[in-house]
């Protein structure tokens, strides 16, 4: 049995990928990408979780053996920022595309091919 967190994370990844694979609207595809990233982040966090332990901030009576793994959390912070950056790039590219092509339908955005 896999944990509900893993399940949720994988589901998010798959939902995101599903959006990328079937949605025609570029923005929806990009949203799919973000959902996927979210799922991955959730997965990372879940991997570092230790049952019965608290956030790795060693105050309020939490000692080194009562905290969960700090590394995945640090990684996720980085991953989130990277995700934000990617999304920002993607959105501005989408704006550029809309300006030039007048559409966000990915089936019509294919001047480069072959």
């Amino acid at each position: 049995m896999i944990s509900v967190y893993y399940f949720g994370a994988i589901s998010l990844i798959l939902v995101g990928l599903y959006a990328i694979l079937v949605k025609k609207n570029l923005l929806k595809v990009l949203i799919g990408l973000s959902i996927m990233e979210t799922g991955v982040n959730l997965l990372l966090i879940s991997v570092g979780y230790v049952s019965g332990r608290s956030a790795p901030i060693l105050s309020e009576g939490i000692g080194p053996n009562q905290a969960v793994d700090p590394i995945p959390q640090a990684l996720v912070l980085t991953a989130i920022v990277i995700g934000v950056a990617t999304t920002a790039m993607a959105l501005s590219v989408a704006m550029l595309i809309y300006e030039k092509y007048g559409t966000l339908n990915i089936e019509e955005i294919r001047r480069l091919r072959g």
Partner: protein, 235 residues
């Protein structure tokens, strides 16, 4: 339809595969190796109470420098792509007095809170990125409420650059003083704040770096917002 069905089937198989892999990494078990080392040593080695922060800024400072860079790239990239010879905001409706006044009241608080977050990064969850994002939210609110509002671009761009340089410089000072790039000279060489663990003035260069990051992220995200909200106008 067929495509959707195929997608679902494929994704289910992929999902099953991932789950199978994850089954080997049981949820909730203590699998720490390096992580435990951090927990055991974080306080005396970095002066931070928040182990995540210590990991982010100290142990894995390289990642964070990269992370800062990534955001910088995004801001630069958005700026490059949406660059037009002349740009203006073209919003049609001004926010109502409710929104504008609410924004006036909220902005100082939000900014202060952003500063609170990055200055307390070594003690509480948070740090430069959420702090910066909070500060950027203040500017976002200004943009949303006032259709003529614009950030002071030149100042912001320079702040961005200076903050970035500041981070690298802090790292280079570490290289000069301690012999390693991104070496925490404040904590490890100067021993500044060693008696203060758990209080604000501790954590070595973490607050400095988080302040830098906070300013940088705040200005960057604001810049991105500015770029995205404006449109080209013909000269």
């Amino acid at each position: 339809m067929l495509k959707r069905a195929l997608a679902i089937i494929s994704l289910l198989i992929i999902g099953y595969w991932l789950a199978q892999g994850l089954a080997g990494v049981p949820f909730g078990e203590d699998k720490m190796l390096v992580g435990q080392y951090y927990l055991d040593h974080v306080k005396e080695q970095t002066g931070a109470v928040n182990a995540v922060t210590a990991v982010v800024v100290n142990y894995r400072g390289f990642d964070t420098l990269g992370e800062v860079t990534v955001l910088f790239i995004a801001s630069t990239g958005v700026g490059a792509l949406l660059w037009r010879r002349k740009k203006k905001r073209t919003a049609k409706t001004e926010g109502s007095i409710v929104l504008t006044t609410g924004t006036r009241l909220l902005v100082p608080f939000v900014m202060l809170f952003g500063a609170y977050i990055f200055i307390h990064g070594h003690l509480t969850p948070g740090g430069g990125f959420p702090g910066g994002a909070t500060i950027a939210t203040a500017f976002l609110l200004l943009y949303l409420a006032f259709i003529t509002y614009e950030i002071p671009h030149k100042g912001f761009e320079k702040t961005e650059g200076l903050a970035g340089m500041g981070y690298v410089l802090v790292g280079l000072i570490g290289l000069a003083i301690g012999g390693y790039f991104l070496f925490d000279w404040i904590w490890q060489t100067w021993n500044f704040g060693t008696e203060n663990i758990g209080r604000l003035l501790s954590g070595g260069f973490i607050p400095i770096i988080y302040t830098i990051i906070g300013l940088k992220v705040g200005t960057e995200l604001s810049g991105i917002i500015d770029n995205m909200l404006k449109e080209e106008v013909s000269e």
